[in-house]
């Protein structure tokens, strides 16, 4: 075969993109491990194993070369992201079901990497959340608030869940959601897990994910548009509806920014290129809509955190957004693709 231009190629490659994303999750994982114990780490190790097995199985069933496709690390990225989102000390079967749903149903049934309309990690998360609401809302208390299990106990929690007697505690988002009698100020005083701004551990984990995201931005793995739009929209919504701390308050902008999966979602989920809008304008719209939805679902919906639902809903809308946000090509008058 004769090779046509361009003959040169840049340094970027898909495995490198994936590895960079994996690397960028490290600070967040470290912080989570510090505050919630080894649960998240065990999740990721077991989840990664299941993910590679599922990926290999799917590739084999589809008659694709195993080595070539396994080397793109996309299964590991999906597993890591899903396992970070899962509560620490989840039982092994929960993780396995989640990963299998993500890799087999959400990814390979649609044609594999690049063809999946929904973010696999979030699809897996939502399937678990719907199916096993009890396990999925059982978060461990953070360091300083409750007792932290050790590594051995973490392994036990995962592989012999029946023998593990973990303590769980409502997350700040839960408490905020279920509160309808106390002022926000009192909430902070009565619940030890609220911490300084948005929850013990949560605030630092969010900041760590923010740092990881900033590093990815610096490495030009993705553009700033979608995450910034999401954070801005969330802040705006929280600011607009922040009533200064009554018992019906949805929480301050700072609380929303640093609680739950905000930063993790903004930099690791919303930026998933496969399932997001493609143009700059499209990504701004896509991110902003997710931000707004996160606030609405957190405050008015049935579930305490909302990143997964918001992302999946906007995954639906991505092609639609693309249709209306086609950029103006050089030498053309300004006009959208569909107009």
């Amino acid at each position: 075969m004769r090779i046509t231009s361009p003959h040169a190629h840049g340094p970027m490659s898909t495995p490198r993109v994936m590895l960079n994303v994996l690397l960028a999750t490290v600070p967040g994982i470290v912080v989570m491990t510090h505050f919630f114990g080894f649960g998240t780490l065990v999740n990721i190790l077991w989840g990664g194993l299941v993910a590679v097995a599922c990926e290999a199985l799917a590739l084999k069933l589809r008659g694709r070369p195993l080595g070539f496709y396994l080397k793109d690390y996309s299964a590991l990225v999906t597993a890591t992201l899903l396992c970070i989102a899962l509560p620490p000390y989840s039982p092994w079967w929960l993780i396995a079901v989640g990963i299998a749903s993500a890799i087999l149903l959400a990814k390979h049934l649609y044609g594999g990497l690049g063809y999946n309309p929904f973010n696999p990690a979030m699809a897996g998360y939502v399937i678990l959340l719907i199916s096993f609401p009890v396990q999925m809302t059982a978060w461990a208390p953070p360091r300083g608030v409750g007792e932290l299990p050790g590594l051995l106990e973490a392994l036990q929690a995962c592989f012999t869940p029946a023998a593990f007697d973990g303590v769980t505690m409502a997350t700040p988002l839960d408490v905020m959601k279920q509160n309808n009698s106390l002022l926000v100020k009192d909430l902070w005083q009565q619940n030890p897990q609220f911490g300084r701004w948005a929850g013990v551990g949560w605030e630092w984990a969010n900041l760590a994910f923010l740092a990881g995201g900033a590093w990815l931005l610096y490495k030009r793995i993705f553009t700033w548009h979608a995450p910034v739009a999401m954070l801005a929209a969330l802040t705006l919504m929280a600011a607009l509806f922040n009533d200064g701390g009554s018992s019906a308050s949805g929480g301050s902008p700072l609380f929303h920014l640093l609680s739950g999966a905000t930063m993790f979602g903004a930099f690791f989920i919303v930026t998933d290129p496969v399932t997001s809008a493609v143009s700059v304008r499209g990504r701004l719209v896509y991110g902003a809509m997710i931000g707004a939805l996160v606030y609405i679902i957190r405050v008015r919906g049935n579930y305490p955190d909302a990143v997964a639902f918001a992302v999946l809903i906007m995954n639906f809308a991505a092609p639609f957004i693309d249709y209306y946000t086609q950029p103006r090509t050089y030498g053309h008058q300004r006009s959208g693709g569909g107009e």
Binding site: I3, I221, P273
Partner: protein, 673 residues
């Protein structure tokens, strides 16, 4: 300081320019053989005006332009024309194209030429004519004829003249060294261009990675109105549209020309060539070519005669074929792989890149598109390459056009950044070709539809005309018969007899219209044969192209063949039946009738003869008739016939001798042919 605008996207590939900048421009010398393709530019190929064996001088025109968008070609050195034939040329498809081959005599003898140093005394048209006659076609790589670019419609005012010294492709330094070493000539050429275009402002755009060239150009432009503009290095700033946006902030409308926004852009190489053509009268016969890559020992720039084989030039730079896996004409971003190193250097060859495998490795197999959008970020024309890739894979051509596929300049930035190694540009190129093919096909079918309808109409018209003619003929024959019956004495008696006979025959045939039947059959055979020929021709080409239409065409040909056979059989049957009729004693009513029948039989026999034989036979017959007429005349005279009869006979003899003379002449011509 001038405001620098930016353009969307762009990339920063490793420049790799220093390798070929270590030494000044070297002269590549005169190779023993020069192969000069007739099409080195965009537009119609030139027409050769020399024949094999002709001796040509350096600078002599050896091929003339064959249209407005076309340029002449000149002999790069003196020598003899060794061949005018198809040779392999530097083209991505590796096909052969008409070339003129010159065996150089080494004397490098110039044809008489002269320029005009005081070009300001020449008017615009004359300058353009000189540029056109010098065969200058875009030296930047695309090869658009310079004169065409400069011939702007008079109602368009050119605001800005841009001289492109950007050279954004990695590895290439041809324009860089040109600016370093021949800055004065560039400025002079620019001034000629200014004289032609009369722009409001003149800008020379140079990327900031060429400080030496910038300094040299600034020094040369000192004191003039020419603005040397330095701007940050980014690929592909050297693209005409991108450079215009960088320097003026304007965008050339899609499908339009720079002149539409009041800009004309020329390459620095073209500026020098224009200066040489106008001031020295020297046509474009050489250019600066960068030879670089790890495959050559001494990468450097050469002044090389057009038509020099790449192999010759590479050897000058110390080429080692083992190190080099593919030879690229142009840069690593937009250049193409050359089919063989024996192809010639042409007007657009700005670089020969002979990279080692480690330098430009063969791309690994493409992975799945993860829609990361890096391509969209890099695209200098703000396309959505990932979406277009999607549509190209699905062959959704309408969507591709909606996503402005045809605005893609194929710069390769998207492929360069693609983390999944997808050969995006290749997809776009293929899709463009397919869309163009589809458009041609629709056009063709539309065309044939129109043609078919026109033919139907024509046939109907012809039929009607024939009908009218037939009626007229019948009427005329009747009238003439009447006339002959009433006023026979007034006419030439022979003529009258013939007329009579004709009228009778016409009367006989009036019912059947057999002649037209025969005609019809003959015509059917002829048209079917013709159709068979075209069908066979189409089938041949289809077979040659390996088209999947072969089978359909084959059945078409078979059908036509069968039809032809049927038509021939019908004709044959008819003729046989007819000749049988004719063979029967026709019961001639008078001698004239018999004579006419004989004549008709003779004509039928004639039809099978060659034109030459026919002419000869005709002549013979005419001579006989002349002889007969003469004897008749002599007899009449002897008999002392009426004056009138003698006169008539004399006239007949006269006419016949004229006819004989004509026939003789015709025969000579036929034989001569």
């Amino acid at each position: 300081m001038r405001k620098i605008y930016g353009f969307h996207g762009g990339i920063h590939p490793p420049e790799n320019k220093h390798q070929s900048l270590r030494s000044p421009i070297a002269d590549a010398g005169i190779p023993p053989e020069l192969v000069i393709p007739l099409s080195q530019h965009i537009g119609a190929p030139s027409r050769a005006v020399v024949a094999v064996g002709d001796r040509v001088l350096k600078g002599q025109m050896i091929a003339e332009p064959s249209g407005f968008v076309s340029v002449p070609v000149h002999a790069p050195t003196s020598g003899t024309i060794a061949a005018v034939e198809d040779r392999q040329i530097a083209h991505p498809s590796g096909h052969a194209a008409p070339c003129i081959v010159i065996a150089s005599d080494g004397r490098d003898q110039w044809i008489e030429h002269g320029g005009k140093a005081d070009y300001t005394s020449l008017d615009k048209a004359e300058l353009l004519e000189r540029i056109r006659n010098a065969g200058i076609a875009g030296m930047g790589g695309a090869g658009f004829p310079a004169a065409v670019k400069l011939s702007v419609k008079p109602d368009i005012k050119i605001e800005t003249l841009i001289i492109n010294g950007t050279e954004c492709e990695p590895y290439i330094t041809a324009d860089d060294v040109l600016m370093r070493e021949r800055a004065g000539e560039i400025i002079e050429g620019t001034n000629i261009l200014r004289h032609i275009v009369q722009p409001h402002e003149t800008l020379i755009g140079i990327e900031d990675n060429k400080p030496e060239a910038l300094a040299a150009m600034r020094a040369a432009a000192e004191g003039s109105d020419i603005d040397i503009v330095e701007f940050p290095t980014k690929y592909p700033s050297g693209g005409e549209k991108q450079l215009i946006e960088i320097l003026t902030g304007k965008q050339v409308p899609s499908g339009g020309l720079p002149a539409d926004v009041g800009v004309i852009c020329q390459n620095v190489g073209s500026a020098v060539a224009i200066r040489d053509a106008v001031v020295d009268g020297r046509p474009l016969i050489s250019r600066i070519t960068t030879v670089t890559g790890e495959g050559v020992a001494q990468p450097q720039n050469f002044e090389v005669l057009l038509g020099t084989s790449m192999h010759y030039l590479l050897d000058k730079a110390g080429y080692s074929a083992e190190k080099n896996r593919r030879l690229i004409m142009g840069g690593p971003m937009m250049g193409f792989t050359v089919p063989s190193p024996d192809v010639p250097i042409v007007k657009t060859t700005n670089c020969l890149l002979a990279p080692a495998e480690s330098e430009l490795p063969t791309p690994p197999p493409a992975q799945a598109c993860i829609r990361c959008g890096m391509c969209a970020e890099a695209c200098p024309v703000t396309l959505l390459p990932q979406q277009m890739f999607w549509f190209a894979q699905g062959k959704e051509f309408e969507k591709l056009e909606l996503h402005n596929l045809f605005d893609c300049i194929e710069c390769g930035a998207c492929s360069w950044v693609c983390p999944s190694n997808i050969p995006l540009v290749q997809y776009y190129r293929a899709s463009k070709a397919e869309i163009l093919q589809l458009r041609r096909d629709t056009e063709k079918s539309e065309h044939s539809r129109i043609r078919f309808e026109a033919r139907q109409e024509r046939l109907a018209k012809e039929e009607a005309e024939k009908e009218a003619k037939r009626a007229a003929r019948k009427k005329a024959a009747e009238e003439r018969a009447q006339q002959a019956a009433t006023a026979g004495g007034d006419e030439d008696p022979i003529q009258a007899a013939i007329e009579r006979a004709k009228a009778k025959k016409a009367a006989q045939q009036a019912g059947g219209g057999e002649v037209s039947e025969l005609e019809k059959l003959e015509k059917a055979v002829a048209t079917t044969r013709k159709r068979l020929e075209t069908a066979t021709g189409k089938l041949e080409t289809a077979k040659a192209e390996g088209s999947d239409l072969v089978e359909a065409l084959q059945t078409g040909v078979d059908k036509t063949k069968a039809k032809l056979e049927a038509a021939e059989k019908a004709l044959h049957d008819y003729q046989q039946a007819n000749s049988g009729e004719q063979a029967k004693p026709a019961a001639p009513t008078d001698a004239a009738q018999a004579a006419i029948e004989k004549a008709m039989a003779a004509r039928a026999a004639d039809a099978s003869l060659s034109p030459e034989d026919k002419a000869r036979g005709q002549l013979e017959k005419l001579r006989q008739r002349l002889e007969k007429s003469r004897t008749k005349l002599a007899e009449s005279r002897e008999n002392g016939d009426e004056e009138k009869i003698i006169e008539a006979l004399e006239a007949t003899v006269e006419r016949l001798s004229q006819k004989v003379a004509e026939a003789e002449k015709q025969l000579q011509e036929t034989e001569g042919a």
